[in-house]
């Protein structure tokens, strides 16, 4: 379980979990759960496009993920109808990217097996060369979030106050979406689009339901993401069942535990 090739898996998955825990925390806090689903899924279509024209998959992922993020950010709403307008724009950006993905796949000679890998990931086949870029990207994403931590927090928690102080919610949305796009374009080929989403939402939502303090919740979110990934790898290694299944169900289980803990604890945590 801890042999040479498996070590790459453990390291990569841990870095991915840290990235997902951090970005997921803000995705949940800012109500951008849908975008967290749409961007990795849309990026997968980019991978199909890249392999159709015969370039490195990473370029397709980057173009589609950032393109989707920019489209959602640029067409998104502001103020009172921010939420519903964002949802519509996110849905349309997602279907456009997936529609293109369907086209690329049917035009290409790629086997369905490879599509399957992009959606569900192949974390057990990570090579040494793939670990370094992901580590680098993890650091970049962490820095990007650390630098903008205060404006991101402010626009999430108190949008009106943020506007009054001259911090644009819309620009913060755009900034965060691009960070999320960069993070996912690196992680999708390794862990898959679906798993990346589960890993962003479950742990962050669980963390948020037990504590209202942003710093604590952020650390807890990363910790739960790590626990989820480690448990999932061990179980997946033992049973040979897909990793995504374990990440999805364990993430949901953590959320339910968090909700239960909040229900029995004195009401101090914020709603949501």
């Amino acid at each position: 379980m801890f042999s040479g090739l498996m070590m790459n898996t453990w390291i990569t998955a841990s870095i991915v979990a840290v990235i997902a825990g951090m970005t997921g925390f803000f995705a949940v806090l800012r109500g951008q759960t849908f975008a967290a689903h749409a961007i990795p899924n849309g990026a997968f279509a980019g991978a199909a496009g890249a392999s159709l024209i015969g370039i490195n998959v990473i370029w397709g992922l980057l173009v589609f993920a950032t393109g989707g993020a920019l489209a959602i950010g640029a067409l998104g709403g502001e103020g009172r109808d921010r939420k519903s307008r964002n949802d519509v724009v996110t849905a349309l950006a997602l279907v456009l990217m997936l529609g293109l993905g369907a086209l690329f796949i049917s035009l290409g000679s790629q086997y369905a097996e490879e599509t399957y890998a992009d959606l569900f990931g192949e974390v057990f086949g990570v090579s040494q060369g793939e670990v370094l870029p992901i580590a680098g990207l993890g650091i970049v994403a962490a820095l990007a979030i650390a630098v903008a931590f205060r404006p991101l927090m402010l626009t999430s928690a108190l949008p009106e106050v943020a506007e009054a102080r001259g911090v644009s919610t819309r620009r913060a949305d755009l900034y965060f979406l691009v960070v999320m796009a960069l993070a996912t374009s690196m992680t999708v080929p390794v862990v898959g689009a679906l798993l990346m989403f589960s890993l962003m939402i479950g742990p962050a939502a669980a963390a948020r339901s037990v504590t209202a303090r942003p710093g604590t919740a952020l650390i807890l979110s990363v910790a739960i993401a790590l626990a989820t990934v480690w448990l999932s790898i061990a179980l997946s290694y033992q049973t040979n069942w897909p990793l995504g299944f374990f990440v999805g169900t364990i993430g949901a289980a953590f959320y339910l535990i968090g909700q239960a803990a909040r229900a029995v604890a004195p009401r101090r945590a914020v709603a949501g």
Partner: protein, 297 residues
């Protein structure tokens, strides 16, 4: 005309089935989508389609017709989302996301077990993206019937649903059981979405649910008209998409058709973007009182 309708288009059985099912899906999604967009439940609408995928792959695994898998999973997911709070404005995205994450995990497992057993590699692709040209004629009556049922539920509830969408508090004050209406609506949404998932694929059913209705809500003033425009726009996009996909067998690369879902999505998107460029003079006034029922989107 000959260039648009390639020879054999209307005499082909699969095409006729596709046109019929496509029409039912487009109209059902168009009407129900108006409420989905107004209630800000686009994410739930999309998630139900993805969750239905799980049902589809589960059905594939046990060898049942995929339609029933889609339907059961969709309705069950709607019930779970309702139970953990999809109706609350705050936190419902998270509830939706958690259900979706768990369901996608299960889908991964089902597909994995499915490929172990039968070694059919095309399964995951067709479950996700659908294939309107390979609907078996036996399923058509069930597809049409569930579409009609979903439409009936929404038609009966239309007035109450509108009220609870625009102002839940007012509805509550008038003695409406907001929660019950919400559940009935979510069930109708689940049925309509699973129907679309069978026809144009789980993922892309979102296109027909959200695209035409968001467009219609932007260009019309009343919800009634929005529903009519939305159903019509969806119908046009679907039929044109089917015709183009049929024609595309004669396009390069030769003998390999372009997917229907691509054409439908492209057409739906063009419609939405066009709604942004309407002439300035005709712009609907957006005071807080006027046109409030159409404000989202």
């Amino acid at each position: 005309m000959h260039y648009l309708f390639e020879p054999g288009l209307f005499s082909s059985g699969p095409v006729r089935t596709a046109l019929l099912v496509g029409a039912v899906v487009a109209i059902t999604s168009g009407v129900i989508g108006v409420f989905t967009v107004m209630r800000g439940q686009s994410f739930a609408g999309h998630s139900l389609a993805d969750v239905a995928t799980t049902g589809g792959s589960g059905a594939f695994l046990i060898g049942v017709n995929q339609f029933w898998g889609f339907l059961v999973a969709g309705v069950a997911a709607a019930a779970v989302m309702e139970a953990i709070g999809v109706q609350r404005r705050r936190g419902r995205d998270v509830a939706t996301g958690v259900v979706l994450g768990a369901a996608l995990g299960a889908a991964a497992l089902f597909l994995y077990l499915g490929t172990l057993r039968t070694a059919t590699t095309g399964a995951s692709f067709s479950v996700l993206f659908g294939s309107i040209f390979v609907i078996s004629p036996d399923t058509v009556p069930a597809l049409v019937a569930s579409g009609v049922i979903a439409l009936l539920v929404v038609a009966v509830l239309a007035r109450v649903l509108l009220l609870t969408s625009v102002s839940p508090d007012l509805a509550r004050a008038r003695g409406v059981n907001v929660r019950l209406v919400g559940i009935a609506y979510l069930a109708a949404l689940a049925v309509s979405v699973s129907l679309a998932a069978v026809a144009i694929g789980a993922v892309l059913s979102t296109a027909l649910l959200i695209g035409p209705s968001a467009t219609a809500l932007r260009i019309t003033k009343t919800p009634g008209r929005a529903m009519a425009v939305s159903a019509l726009a969806g119908l046009v996009a679907t039929w044109l998409g089917i015709v183009l996909a049929y024609d595309s067998y004669y396009w390069p690369p030769h003998g390999r058709g372009w997917p229907v879902s691509f054409f439908v999505v492209a057409l739906v998107l063009v419609g939405y973007l066009l709604s942004y460029v309407r002439p300035r003079g005709k712009r609907v006034p957006r005071s807080p009182h006027e046109g409030v029922e159409c404000s989202p989107a």
